[in-house]
Chain length 348, copies 2
Amino acid sequence: MPSSKSDPAVPTRRTRATGRVTLADVAEAAGVSPITVSRALRGERAVAPELVERVQAAAAALGYVPDPAARALASSRSSHVAVLIPKLSNTLFVELLDAVQTSLVPAGYQTLIGVTHYDAAEEEAVLRSFLAHRPAGLIVTGSDRSPAAEAMIEGSAVPCVRLMEVGEGAGAYSVGFSQKDAGRAITRHLLDTGRRHIAYVAAQLDPRTMQRGEGYVAELQAAGLGDRVNQVLSAEPSSMALGGALLERVLREAPQTDAIFFCNDDLAQGALLAALRLGVAVPARVAVAGFNDLPGSDQMVPPLTTVATPRREIGRQAAQMLMQLMRGQPVETPHLDLGFQVVKRASS
Amino acid sequence: MPSSKSDPAVPTRRTRATGRVTLADVAEAAGVSPITVSRALRGERAVAPELVERVQAAAAALGYVPDPAARALASSRSSHVAVLIPKLSNTLFVELLDAVQTSLVPAGYQTLIGVTHYDAAEEEAVLRSFLAHRPAGLIVTGSDRSPAAEAMIEGSAVPCVRLMEVGEGAGAYSVGFSQKDAGRAITRHLLDTGRRHIAYVAAQLDPRTMQRGEGYVAELQAAGLGDRVNQVLSAEPSSMALGGALLERVLREAPQTDAIFFCNDDLAQGALLAALRLGVAVPARVAVAGFNDLPGSDQMVPPLTTVATPRREIGRQAAQMLMQLMRGQPVETPHLDLGFQVVKRASS
DNA sequence: CTGAAAGCGCTTACAG
DNA sequence: CTGAAAGCGCTTACAG
């Protein structure tokens, strides 16, 4: 029979027992105080090895799982890491996210994903909501945000690592590569193969896209072809269909074009398929290069020349860096440049 | 000058002031008790309209943001919704996730994303960790999980909606469509165009893939072609490159094949590109059909015949259903079948 | 190295 | 319709 509250044989229990195994339960089982359990389980030193063992055994036996909410409330630090990315429709960001998550989850952090849609107001709203969770860390894409958003990040004092760009203007900690240098490198490759009328075709127009364009311009100028600069910029979201349309447009409006550098592989893939449909010979009539080396680029007909970007490694290293910051450990290389690789395939 | 703790003019503050604006601050500003603020802000009835207004004004003026951890601890329900998907490398799941998130975030829920990699042990680990957060709701993909995982879901009493499959065996609540019927429909389309040697080529081999295969078999049998069944199953992860390789293999091992139904568009896209490379005429020599209508399928050469699946709508509706469950509201259609659409393009 | 006390910022359950 | 009390399950800060 269930014992009533007035039953004197039953020790007084917390009124709102949730049935959950708590620190106190483990403490009782191990014969120590709750605070000792807390310290032992968190691996805080200053606990006798013997007690640590006893506590761990008791915790395992009871199936104890710490309550993240209680922990967050008491310590004013949650186990959440907030990750802000512009879009889920770009494979690049999904892979970045996947890599970050793969590193963080085994270490006991929960990833909170915020999609900003390249919109400052949305980013601020997401940030506000996330910071209320007192995340232990923050990972954001690039360094292009509103002053208000920057202020929120600064004001929160939450460790923050920025992805994809590197160095000056990329906050205190960043992992990425030089977008401009990458734009230069692929442009140089096209020049090296004899192309002289090279267009840069971009969509979405985020800061990284523009930086690649700057690299393209710089390289043309260095080659004495500054007057040949032809940037075709579309603010529309990037897609394969758009890439095809832009190829057509460039060949119509600037028929002398003999090479196109697309800011992202989805555009370039779409352009290659459109070229097949239209009977435009690639690379004979026009060379095509992309950026990022996304899935499928090596399968195209012809295979797509592109710039391979180390996004998985960027995600992994950013997670490592953030974990060091969250633990209060020093970071030896606050701006980590992981480089890039020009991948020469048959489209150029 | 900063007032010292012993300064008698300073009212005693909580020792560990975090600087955060709390319920108590709002209560003081509004001249009511904290509990009234709590109720007013949560929109609980039984608060005088005038007070609600006063409280909201005070909260806005102070920039009050509720602490999710405190809320979770006190109510033993967090604002988290855990979403379990097999992989981030399949666009299908990313779009599902995006749709779920787009619906949930504006309603004040935080999405916790768990990637299971089609691995039972990983799924159990993720589930264990997520359930410790006492999520308000749970969204999982399909109904293929270990008894241990099912038991954890049941035992947690957290409302759960399953995605992509529908009806019997798909738990208490599901949003999706009949994978088997979709497999039948695309097979019938191939039969209708005169094909008689149709192969079903699948990778990854999750339950949904197998259900599509059952539909393929059923439709062939219904057409009196039960002896023509040719299922080529690869446990490898799905990819465009694999699709190309499987096309080659099928045409080599079963040269009489005049149509291939691939379980996912990435395989089919890879097959179409391989066909271009190899000079295999599609659809003249062999018709190709895919599944899901992923980005790019309409751009292929020739454009890919496939089955359009309403994954965004599935994500959206699942989120709506879950919100009703989390609010304790009744759900009129616990198994929501959103159907599918055969998209006839030039590859068949 | 260990612990008793207090508190994190909310909500629940009980009164009135 | 409103509130005082207690408590959610941890960690911090202070002692010893």
